[in-house]
């Protein structure tokens, strides 16, 4: 069931994605990409994934855009004279069309939102255990947080170290000794 809000969001996301691809001016393309990130964040909200939506809004629409803008100011910006839109690269278009068709092919296999028969429930020993015991065992109401920081905390510590290592790696690659 697609509501009017869903439909409007999907149209917005598709339009901003197409604008990102076809706008000739790189700066306009970056701004369209930021709009795409924001639209996608709202799609995540409608899909009841607020954690992903927060990350998408901050990283996809915010940080990525600023990094692109930073890169634009440090490189030459190609002249955007002439038409607003680029011509269509037909070979690339063909590859994208095939890829999109392959992805759309899988859509009917995705269970409906909230479907009690969804495969995520195929492993009730784990999933139902978390739902039943998370509050009693960890004292937090958000089961996602309970899994991330308690049940699977070892993985999360590894992830935190990976993020830290990414910062160190950038300094090493840039031959810098300090961030700021």
């Amino acid at each position: 069931m697609i509501t009017a809000v869903d439909a409007a969001l999907l149209v917005f996301v598709l339009a901003s994605a197409l604008a990102t691809v076809f706008l000739r001016d790189v700066l306009a393309s970056v701004i369209a990409f930021a709009a795409y990130g924001l639209g996608l964040a709202l799609v995540w909200v409608t899909l009841q994934a607020p954690d992903v939506a927060l990350t998408e809004a901050a990283i996809g629409a915010g940080v990525t855009t600023v990094l692109f803008l930073l890169t634009l100011t440090k490189t030459a910006r190609p002249s955007a004279e002439g038409s607003t839109f680029k011509g269509i690269d037909w070979p690339a278009m063909g590859v994208v069309a095939v890829f999109t068709a392959a992805l759309l092919w899988t859509v009917p296999a995705i269970p409906a939102i909230g479907d009690p028969e969804a495969p995520a429930w195929a492993n009730p020993e784990v999933t139902q255990f978390y739902l039943d015991n998370a509050l009693a065992q960890t004292g937090v109401e958000n089961v996602v947080t309970a899994v991330l920081a308690a049940y699977r905390g070892f993985d999360t510590l590894g992830e935190a170290v990976v993020v830290f290592a990414a910062g160190v790696a950038v300094l090493v690659i840039l031959r810098e000794e300090r961030f700021t």
């Binding site: 607020p50 915010g62 930073l70 440090k74 960890t138 004292g139 958000n142 910062g167 810098e176």
Partner: protein, 190 residues
């Protein structure tokens, strides 16, 4: 929070962005900025009172929201990673509005490094702590039974979330400054 934005503001007026970069390596960046016509390379920063005022009003709320998401990850959606990205986005927003140079002076390197390393250490200490008490890794309930801290498990998880938030906020804003600096450095070199 208002003190933070106020400090960034102090550095901004008068278009002294280039001049406030006292760092020797960054100073070289001033030269290519003068070659705008030839290279079509635009100035990295243009002062806009609309953007500065808007950011000055919005930034404290964004920082509060980021901290709320971080602190409240145990009971509502969000958590350390999400809150950290929001806080980092606020730092980038300040740099966007007031110029990278003044923001860099305000958000010094030791603060970035302290956030990133402190976050990892906080997570590790909370995670490995129960092992010192004779339990297993992440066995938060030991804090309650051995040390008598009430709701120890919940506070430990929130501490872990704060650690993750600090790592993410520190590294993302650090990446931003490092990348900005890296380009300036190479421009100055040639």
């Amino acid at each position: 929070m208002s003190g933070d934005t106020g400090r960034a503001d102090d550095n901004s007026p008068g278009g002294e962005t280039e001049a406030t970069r006292t760092d020797g390596r960054a100073a070289g960046a001033a030269d290519p900025a003068g070659e705008d016509e030839r290279t079509e390379r635009r100035r990295p920063y243009t002062e806009s009172s609309v953007i500065m005022t808007t950011v000055q009003v919005v930034a404290p709320f964004v920082l509060t929201f980021g901290l709320f998401v971080m602190f409240h990850g145990a009971d509502s959606s969000g958590g350390g990673f999400q809150g950290g990205t929001v806080v980092a986005a606020m730092v980038l927003m300040l740099a966007f509005a007031f110029g990278i140079g003044p923001t860099r002076e305000w958000f010094v390197n030791s603060a970035v490094v302290a956030l990133a390393t402190g976050g990892v250490l906080l997570f590790a200490v909370i995670g490995f702590g129960p092992m010192l008490l004779g339990g297993g890794f992440l066995e938060y309930s030991l804090y309650e039974s051995a040390l008598g801290i009430k709701k120890a498990s919940k506070y430990a998880i929130e501490g872990v979330e704060l650690g993750i938030g600090a790592v993410v906020a520190g590294v993302i804003s650090g990446l931003f400054f490092a990348i900005a600096h890296g380009f300036e450095y190479r421009e100055g070199e040639k």
